[in-house]
Structures are given as C-alpha cells and as structure tokens.
Symmetry: C2
Subunit: 478 residues, 2 copies
C-alpha cells in the first residue's frame, strides 16, 4: 500500500515530498492511516485537528492526535470551536457547519505555514457514498464525478490544492494497515448513527446494492473516475466558450452574447449558465435543474417575455442581442445602447400609415394597414411577439406619433386587465438600463401610449374578435 | 397526455404524421397505449407483433393485437418464432435472444414498408430501470445516458431511426390513460417474476431507493437526460478527433497517428479506442474498462512492450508513430514503411564507435563509449527504452556491424532468460509488417545479433553490476 500511495501522491495528488503538507487528522482510522503513511514516506507535515466541541470525548481525541503528532515530531495545530452555535447563527445543519469550520481551519493553517496542499483522509468508500448521495438527490456530471485526488481551485482556496491520497483505498485496507502497524484510532460513535443520511447509505443501502451486484462499489468508484475525465473535457470546452460568449462581467452583473451562447450545444449552455450564476452568487451550493432550464428556455425564445427569474435573486433579461444576468436590484450598465431602438431626438415624430421611422442602433419602426386573415388572426390576437403589434385602429383617439418618455407618463400594459401603472415603474420592472429608459421610443396617439416597440402593447388598443380596421406595427433590426 | 406526446413526436422523435411508422405492439399496457395514441394523432401506422413462442398464452395475445389493429384499420404484421431454439443455437440468454429476434423483425418490416421509423413503447420507468441496471453493472457515460427518444444509427439500422415516444411518460400515467380509454392490455406474468434482474429492480430495489429519496425516479430520469446531452458533446469531439487521428482504416486493421491520439484528453482517447474496437468487432456488446485502459497505458508508454492484447482477439502494436489495431492473425499493410528505421542496402555496414549509420525513414543509429554513472546506471540496467541500449563491450565476440536479416537468424531476446528463438518468429510475434521484417536493421557482432534497434536488446550483451566497459547505442528520428 505504501508504494501505491507514493505513486498516487506524485502522479495524482502532484505533491512534493520536500514541501510542507497540511494533513487533517480527526483521530479516526482514515486520517490516522494517512498520517502514518505520509510520515513514513518522509513528508514534511503539519498535523491539524479541529475539535468541533460536539461530544464530551472530543477533548480526549484531540489529546490523542497531539500525542501521535508529538511522537512523530510533527508540528500540531488545533482549535476548539462551538459548532452548534455556529450552525444556529448561520442557519446550517450541524454537519454542514462542522464541515465549514474544519476546512476553514485547515486552509488557514496551510496558508500560515505556506504549505503546498491540504491532505484529507477520504477513502474509496467515502467516494462511493458521495456518488450515491448525489445519485439519490439528483445530480449531473459535476456531482456524479465525486471527489478528486487533486482539486484546485476548490471551495476553500484558489491557490492551495486539496488532495485526497487515500481516495483509491478501501476502508478494509486501511483497517488492515492500522492493525499491522498496531495503531489505535478513535472511533466516532456518530458514524454508526443511521439518522445521518451518509451512515444509512454505508450501513444499509450499499450492502443491499451489493446483493444485486457484488462488484457495485468498484463499479461506482470507476464510474466516478471516468465521469471525472469526461467532465474535464466539458469544463475545458466551457472555458473556451466562456471566453467567446461573455461580453462583459461586472461586480454585480454579467452579459452574454446571446446568439453565441445559443450556438453551443445544450450541455455547454448549461455549464455556462451554471458558471455565470456562481460568479454572481458563489455561495449557492445547489443550483437546481429547473433554474438552468428556465434560463435555456428564455435564451431560445426571449420574445415570449422580457425577463425570467432564476435563483438566488438573479434574473435574466435580454436587450438586443445581449443576455444579462443580474440581481433584482442591480442597475445595468449602458453598454448595450447600440442594441436598443433609441429615438435620437427628444421631439415628437409623426408616424404615417404606411410609413417608417428610423431609430438609433439600426432599428426600423414600420406601420401598415392590415387585413387580418384567418391564419394571422390568432397570432395577432395573441400579441406574443413584442416586435410586432396589431392594433384596432378604431380605438385610436388621434393619429400615431413617436416620442421619448415624459415625466408623468402612465401605461396600461397588455396582460394586466387594463390596470394603469407609471411608465417608469414598468420600465424599471423589466430592467431596462437608465439610458434605454430615457431614449426608448413610445408609439402614442394623443395623450395615450399605444405600444412600447419591442416591449409591450397597451391594453386599450389590443385586437378583439370584433375589430374591423387593423394597423400592423413592427420593429426590426435592419 | 395527447398534446405532450404530439410535441415529443415532432420535436424529440422527429417523426412526420404523414409518413408510415412501424409500431411494435406486444399487447401489454405500454405498447397498447402507444398504439392508441399514435392512431388518435392520425399517424399512418403498421402494427408489428412478434410471438416469441415462449408461453402458451402468446397465441391469444397475438390474436388480441391483431383484433386491435383491425379495429383501427391498420396493417398488421406478425410472426411466430422459436426463441428457445435461437437462444440455444447462439449461446444467448432467453431475454437476449427475444430482444434480437424482436428488433430484427421490427426493422425488417420497417424496411419492407419503407417506414420512416420504428416506434417502441419504452416508458420513463423503463428508462430509470435501464440506468440503474447500468449503474449496478458498471458503466460510463454511454450507458448512464440510458435510452434516447430518437436514435440513429442504432444497433439495428443505419438508416431507419428507433424512436421512443413514451420515454417521458410514467407507467402510472399509462395505466390511467388505458383506463380512461377503456383499453384492456394483456398482462405478461413474467413481468412479476423476480428471477429476472429487471423485475427485481422494479419491484424491490426502486421502492427501497424511494425510501431514501422519494424523488429518486425523477432524479435518475433527469440525470440520464443531462448525461445524454453531455455525451453528445463528447461524441461530436470524438468524431472530429477520429477524422484527425485515424490514419488508415482497412477491413481488418485500423491505424492511428499515435502522437495525435496522445494529444487528446483521456476521455476522448477512451472514446476513440472504444470506437476503433467496435469498427473491427461490431458485435462486441461489452467493452470492458480494463481493455480500454490497457490500450491507453500502451499508448502512453509503448516502449515497455511492443504490443498489447485488448479484447475480441484484437491487439495493439506500435510501429514508428503509428498505432495499429488488428486481429492476431492479420498481416499489417506496408503503409508505415516511412516510419520504420529501414536499412536501404542489403550489404553489411560497419558501425564504428563512436559513429553513425543513417537509415531510411529519417532514422539515425548512433554509438558511443559510455561511462555509466550512478544516475544513469539503473536506467541502463533496466533496458526499458527500446530506442536505447547499453551493452557490455567485453561480451562482444567481434566489432559491431549493421545488416538486414538472413535466413536462419536466431536471437536471444532480453527478458526470456537467454532462451534462443528464430528471429522471424520474434518479428512475427511482435507484429512487424512483412516489409519491415525484411528491412529492419540488426546490430550484430560476428554471428550474433546484439540489438534490434527500437525493438529489443539481446540477452548476452546486457549490462550487469560488474560491467566495466560500456557502449551506448541509440536510435532516433532526425
């Protein structure tokens, strides 16, 4: 086993025997075995132990680890924390809180000692349990690949890798090693408590699965290994695609080139969207399938709505050919001005029928009389395409004109039952950037707003089954 | 459900309501539901039923399906086969034999009717069971993605797709549909027989898994969907890589550009090797992980040996920068002559020390006296690199020369304890093509073969701890 782990340390974990390595030691079998092996291989070590303060025996365990480290002449760092209090303060489960406190301490210590890596004692059994947990709770490739021998950046550091030298070693082998070496690990009684999900997997489900196929643990371990390599290919493609499709990345928003994003296959689109969400919300642990698919659906047919809520208070909006991801409250930059149909002058412009008005950003607003036949009628009634509107000419109080917005403008958006709201509120709600709000062209008739081209028709002018005279308005990029 | 399936047929299954579609109907709930829905959606159908001849009731079931088809005015094709005899003849399990006979008949009929596709009644539950089966038995992405709504080419046809319109529909929904429509399916009693692996999953394991997470079926279904998209990206990359790295493809062999292949990430290398094996052995159903990894290992360090056995009687050999996959018995083509270190003349050539001999294919053979220090000594003793040899000058019976092989040449390959074999046997065993066997340069001293450059050192001239005068020979591409 020593030789096997020596190879793994060099080839998989990429660690160097001559540079300091922080090793997390709980005192249980796995970490004790890891400590023993690393010490025998001559690594320059720092032993780190976190006493989670959850059980009375934990003080003795810390002392025990200290004694082991001292016997080997290895620096020992430890700390006692109040995991329960931390969990309560941060609304976390005890297990989650313990995990965060432990890794934080490990990486703080590694930083302090300028260590090359943090090593933990995760085993092949831990890997299989992790993969099963992901399987049962729902996961994609990122979860099914399990843990890695080497990970950088990991959740805890961008610079110091987390390595798991025992990831290919089964618990049986570890127990045998400890016996040979006459080492006595502490046994954490909570490892037997089947109220914990992981323990139920270990003690109940895996033996059941072995009844279906005795090699299932090997199969799942190998599956994770293969999927991890598959994931690496997708991750590389995602990195390339990210460089090509992310147009702008601010502190609080991110914009994609929408046609570029759409050109990638679904699997890469999902990775890009997931990464974008994590850039803005790095603490999100579970990004659900539904959010990603909502984003993809919006991307594929943004005209059906102007925005979509994702997760973590983020929403997507589309302006021209830019897809923006930002928090609800975030004011988007004006970078996209070229993509909007801006009205360059602040004066009123007549809109003849038929006729055209040229807008900035290369957009054209057009009108024409229309006879709505049986084929186009359902579509006209629907008004689902914000770039076109069919209006009932008999409802117009005056001839059509185009202007920018004015203070006090109100609007009855289609789909709100004729309810009138402030135009500025509507524009803010749909997340138009400030400059776009100012310059956006409004089609008006007298005092009334008829259509916000590219955004929404006004309720009073919608077509109905009795409409006889119809005007077709359209906005197009030329 | 009708609308949902209508969408799936158009978007996922890519079928056209106006062109003939063969539908496989066993008479059980799933296929009966599929038939009903396709008929109601106005598809032009051909009902196909295979009576496997395994149970007495099967004749009634066939009659029942015939009646359903007749009632709907749909052409009906059926056949009775002796599955047990076929299984025995072909050394297959009954299930496997039934599957082969059924699909063969479906696709024959589709071909006869010039149908656009074959549709089967696989459900969402079938998908989950398939994925679990792969998980338990060990699988990579290709297995974990499960079945597809649309597949072409599939195992049965390169031209006619296999479509599964009910793949997103759960058995509960199908039962509810049948009840609403007052349809009475045949119930196959073997579906309850837990001696069959799939039935054990269905009736025993899945309910257990639902005890761990009640949404597990949805999770596994969605996982398959996501992995299928991930796989599609890898498949596309594999296709590109195939075009770039396959150098020659014959009926019975296939050659890769080895450095090109090595340049791809492990996941793509695995796909390429798997595909190469399937090109030569299309009937292999399970290509094991170990064979693929043996191939990758050989590719990464071919110098350790000249060939490696894979699976299905195939082996890999490396000649120059070409990696050949071929059956044991296959004579490789001479296409790679440029890549071998051929000796252009048939006369003997002196090999001075130090000195060089230029070989065809751009290779250079060099010699020099060497003092083997403590760093290089282990490597020299090892003789693991076939492109270099360190020999004990005191063992040489005469000065070094280079020549082509002659009838009667014998050779004592290193690693065979001094055993002498015919040189031609050695060359055939390591799968050198005929032309290469003729032209390969031999380093000789008097009557004895000292070194086959790039292949193997001769036993009598190996270095040992007592060697004092050392000659270093090397072969390099210039």
């Amino acid at each position: 086993m020593l030789d096997e782990i020596k190879n793994i340390l060099a080839e998989e974990c990429r660690v160097d025997a001559n540079r300091a390595l922080v090793v997390g030691v709980s005192g249980g079998p796995d970490s004790l075995c890891l400590l023993d092996i690393l010490a025998r291989l001559g690594f320059s070590l720092v032993v780190v132990h976190l006493d989670h303060g959850l059980r009375a025996e934990s003080i003795d365990e810390a002392r025990c680890v200290a004694t082991s480290a001292e016997a080997l002449g290895i620096p020992f760092e430890h700390k006692r924390v109040d995991t329960r209090a931390y969990a309560a303060q941060n609304n976390l489960s005890i297990e989650e809180a313990a995990r965060i406190l432990r890794y934080r301490f490990l990486f703080e210590t590694a930083d302090h000692y300028e260590a090359q890596a943090v090593a933990t004692g995760h085993t092949a059994d831990d890997q299989v349990e992790t993969v099963l947990m992901h399987l049962l709770r729902g996961a994609g490739l990122a979860g099914l690949r399990g843990m890695a021998f080497y990970s950088l950046p990991n959740a805890w550091s961008e610079k110091i890798p987390l390595v798991r030298p025992l990831l290919g070693i089964w618990r049986d082998e570890i127990d045998a090693h400890l016996e040979t070496r006459d080492l006595r690990p502490a046994q954490d009684p909570t490892n037997l408590d089947t109220r914990f999900f992981r323990n139920r997997l270990r003690h109940e489900l895996i033996p059941i699965l072995e009844g279906y196929n005795s090699g299932v643990k090997d199969h799942l371990w190998r599956m994770a290994r293969l999927l991890s390599d598959d994931y690496a290919v997708l991750a590389q493609m995602t990195e390339d695609a990210w460089q090509r499709t992310v147009h702008n990345e601010g502190e609080e928003f991110l914009s994609f080139d929408a046609p570029g994003l759409l050109g990638y296959p679904p699997a890469i689109q999902r990775q890009l969207i997931r990464r974008a969400i994590l850039e803005l919300r790095p603490d999100l642990r579970d990004i659900d399938y539904a959010s990603i698919e909502r984003a993809r659906h919006f991307l594929a047919s943004p005209s059906a709505s102007r925005q979509v809520d994702l997760i973590g208070g983020l929403r997507l909006t589309m302006h021209g050919q830019r897809l923006y991801l930002a928090g609800w409250e975030v004011e988007l930059p004006n970078e996209g001005a070229d993509f909007w149909p801006g009205l360059s002058q602040s004066q009123m412009v007549a809109l003849p029928i038929p006729g055209n008005v040229y807008l900035s950003g290369g957009w054209l607003l057009s009108t024409q009389r229309a006879s709505v036949d049986t084929v186009t009628f359902p579509r006209a009634l629907d008004n689902k395409d914000p770039y076109q509107a069919w209006i009932d000419a008999d409802q117009l109080p005056a001839s059509l004109q185009v202007r920018r917005r004015q203070p006090g403008d109100r609007f009855q958006p289609l789909g709100m039952g004729g309810h009138s709201i402030k135009l500025s509120d509507f524009m803010i709600n749909i997340r138009l950037p400030a400059k776009a709000r100012t310059e956006w062209p409004l089609v008006v008739a007298g005092e009334q707003i008829v259509w916000l081209p590219g955004l929404r028709l006004a309720h009073p002018f919608r077509l109905n089954q009795g409409s006889r005279r119809v005007i077709h308005l359209s906005l197009a990029k030329i």
